[in-house]
Amino acid sequence: MLEVKQLVVAYGRVNAVKGISFNVEQGQIVTLLGTNGAGKSTTLRTISGLLTPVSGEMWFEGERLDGVAAHKVVEKGIAQSPEGRRLFRQMSVEDNLRLGAFSRKDAAGVRTDMDRIFDLFPVLGSRRTERAGLFSGGEQQMLAIGRAMMSRPRLLMLDEPSMGLSPIMMQLIMSTIRSLRDEGITILLVEQNAAAALKLSDKAYVLEVGQITLEGTGEQLLGDDRVKRAYLGED
């Protein structure tokens, strides 16, 4: 579904992503693991069209993705919930969700989808007119995921959705991600919480200073000694 080939992305003259290649298959959860500064967010931002690659190719459903403007990437069916959630804090829950559906023209469908988000996350439904900035971290993360869902993406990219959440909240977010996949949405997940992410993943890649150093199924990486040492805190 998504193919990234030899992607190089730079900030100024410094390469942050140094020629990575990976695939995301339809219907899977694919995880990018890596320590701080490895280039995970840079990769997602490039797929979304916020950054222009120096070289390499990106293909989505058989069409060239690099060079496509960010707002067109959403129309093609790729949504992102960015790192740090980046909600419109001054706006209500409803307004945030409506902005998520900005590229859509079917008002009725948008309303149904909003109700589905409220079924999925009842806290949001019961406080739908409150400003997003007033919600707890976990609730804000739900809203960020819901907002990304509002464009009806076929590929949903989540950048560190468990960041700063309590273990219970994290489990809730992780099980939500699983159920979204079961509904048929393909997921590209970036996580620092390796154990939780790998248990969920069909496929995973380890990114280190801009390069992919390991890849395999979630289970394979969970059992890999190097991953255990570097990301799971075991020895």
Binding site: S48, G49, L50, A69, A70, H71, V74, E75, A79, Q80, P82, R86, F88, R89, Q90, M91, D95, R98, L99, G100, F102, S103, G133, R147, A148, S151
Partner: protein
């Protein structure tokens, strides 16, 4: 008391003029963090666009009040808006957009250049367009029967019709702005972009289009102000955007730059402050020569004690 009310009305109508221009500074700043110093010239172009429309209509001088208010005035407003929106979009496209990712100082200097360019461009028409004097003297603005020279009397308080027009225009524009920002898709996109441009793009918002909408919106209101200015003072000239622009910019900062309601409030406060200073400060310090001094002194005071402006820059929130 009557004297106070009279000065209050004078101040409010002057302030309404500032407010109409100030909105343009604030929406553009809120989205691209550019202080568009050429915005005063967009206001000037609006006045000249209205003037040109009047010439195209055959310089009517003997139209009835009804015809003037229902045909001439709307035509001049539309003509002014077309001129200023077109020019504002061109400056955005050809002067500012290429500098979108440049250091902040570059577009700022460009804005000053655009401002000089537009003044000189209009000045080139002087002398060879019929109706434009060849000297650098002001051009008489067409009079609109029913507005120009007319006034309303409430007891001792006299309100000039051009002042009524300015206040009414601000009222209508404020309602429109509220509706636009809160109820239209483009308006919501504008607020989202001013809060977080990258996330706005992730929502599928075309930020280039939002920026164009901001320039166009500011220009349209500035054009209305240009017509109001022409009706109020009876003449226009290619330099009129300088001081009016500076005052409106002051108003925008006063209200909290980036905040639309702030621009309206800041404009009104500034206008009233000027009117009160010239009527209640005794001696030469209350002379009209000093009113600009008091306006800018007010700005300095507000910036010292409330740097975020009267209403604060709530639109630009990156917490």
């Amino acid at each position: 008391m009557e004297y106070f009310l009279q000065q209050l009305i004078n101040g409010l109508s002057l302030g309404a003029l500032y407010a109409l221009i100030a909105v343009g500074y604030t929406v553009v700043y809120g989205i691209v963090q550019l202080i568009n110093f050429a915005h005063g010239e967009i206001f000037m172009i609006g006045a000249f666009g209205a003037y040109a429309t009047w010439m195209i209509l055959g310089q009517p001088t003997d139209w009835s009040t009804t015809m003037s208010l229902l045909v001439l005035l709307p035509a001049m407003l539309i003509g002014g808006m077309v001129a200023s929106v077109t020019v504002a979009l061109m400056t955005e496209r050809f002067a500012y957009r290429p500098l979108r990712n440049a250091p902040r100082l570059a577009p700022l200097i460009t804005a000053i250049g655009v401002s000089v360019f537009l003044q000189e461009f209009v000045r080139l028409f002087y002398g060879w367009v019929p109706g434009f004097p060849d000297a650098k003297s002001a051009i008489p603005f067409p009079s609109v029967p029913g507005l120009s020279g007319e006034s309303l009397q409430f007891g001792e308080v006299l309100i000039q019709m051009p002042a009524v027009f300015t206040l009414a225009a601000l009222a209508v524009c404020s309602v429109f702005l509220w509706y636009f920002v809160n109820r239209t898709k483009t308006g919501r996109a504008m607020v989202a972009t001013s809060q977080d441009p990258d996330t706005a793009r992730l929502m599928g918002i075309n930020v280039d289009r939002v920026i164009m909408a901001a320039f166009a919106l500011g220009a349209a209101l500035a054009a209305i102000a240009g017509v109001a200015h022409g009706l109020r003072y009876g003449n226009i000239d290619f330099r009129m955007g300088f001081l009016a622009g500076l005052k409106a910019f002051t108003a925008a900062v006063l209200g909290g730059i980036g905040n639309i309601a702030g621009a309206v409030v800041g404009g009104l406060v500034l206008g009233v402050a000027e009117a009160m200073a010239t009527s209640f400060i005794p001696g030469q310090f209350g002379s009209s020569a000093w009113k600009d001094v008091w306006a800018f002194a007010l700005l300095i005071l507000v910036l010292v004690f409330r740097p975020e402006g009267l209403l604060g820059a709530k639109v630009v929130d990156r917490a």
